[in-house]
């Protein structure tokens, strides 16, 4: 099958709506198709990968640990927008530490999260072939 550049765009906070959870389910499945997959976290989407999520008070399943599994499937291009973090009083330190092991580089652990500014994010979006938004 052909390889295409797929981007999954996440703009919504988790738990208030199902989009974050069901988006992650799509991303995991996409790994099986060996496509060139990247994820964009902009606007409220940045809360999806916030550190320390604790859902005991709202009765929903905490699915945030699943983002840590993405690296094992070589999904390691998670673009996070700098301006979106700043407007929300957040920094990179507030996000989970998401990494992957590069088997072409002696299994070195490398960061999956790439902090980019708005202009760079626009440039990355412009290169995509299939954009699926949630």
């Amino acid at each position: 099958m052909a390889t295409k550049k797929f981007m999954f765009v996440n703009r919504k906070a988790p738990y208030g709506t199902v989009y974050a959870l069901e988006s992650l389910e799509v991303v995991l499945i996409s790994a099986a198709f060996e496509q060139d997959v990247s994820l964009a976290f902009i606007d409220d989407g940045v809360y999806q990968i916030a550190k320390g999520q604790d859902t005991t008070g709202i009765g929903q399943k905490n699915f945030s640990a699943t983002y840590k599994a993405l690296g094992d499937y070589e999904i390691n291009k998670l673009y996070v927008e700098k301006e979106s973090l700043e407007e929300r009083g957040l920094t990179l330190d507030d996000l989970m530490d998401l990494t992957w092991e590069d088997e072409d580089d002696d299994y070195e652990e490398k960061p999956s999260i790439h902090l980019v500014d708005r202009a760079d994010m626009a440039g990355i979006m412009a290169q995509q072939e299939v954009v699926i938004s949630f």
Binding site: Y15, T17, V18, G59, K61
Partner: protein, 130 residues
């Protein structure tokens, strides 16, 4: 206090049904009365018995059904909203010539008047939606 709750979104897609469920439990625990829960718009989808979410996830529709049984709650699904979205009890299915129905125990189908009447009778009316 006597409450009427209105729920405007279906289960899972939005948190509103979860929040209303937690609110209802907290209110009952404090000795308040839930006079009625009125399900409108996509909220009618909370009343299906055909859902089967993953075992490790919450079972929203069943939780409403069980809460209703425990506390003798009046859970009302708006008939007009239900007809658009495909929620049917046995009587309505028969009337519409449908070959199946899908409503879960503890819910009943009725008209919009139940919402207004609920608003009149209750001390507080709360809306949960999107």
């Amino acid at each position: 206090m006597k409450y009427t709750l209105m729920i405007n979104e279906g289960p899972y897609q939005h948190q509103s049904s979860d929040t209303a469920l937690q609110f209802a439990r907290a209110a009952l625990e404090k000795g308040h009365e839930i006079y009625r829960v009125f399900f409108y718009h996509d909220g009618v989808n909370n009343g299906t018995r055909l859902s089967a979410p993953p075992q490790d996830d919450r079972q929203i529709q069943k939780e409403w059904s069980e809460l209703a049984k425990q506390h003798d709650l009046d859970l009302v699904i708006c008939i007009a909203a239900a007809q658009r979205r495909g929620l049917m009890d046995a009587d309505e299915a028969k009337r519409q010539g449908m070959d199946a129905d899908n409503i879960i125990e503890g819910f009943r189908i009725s008209g919009l008047g139940q919402l207004i009447e609920g608003g009149i009778q209750a001390d507080r009316t709360l809306v949960f939606g999107d």
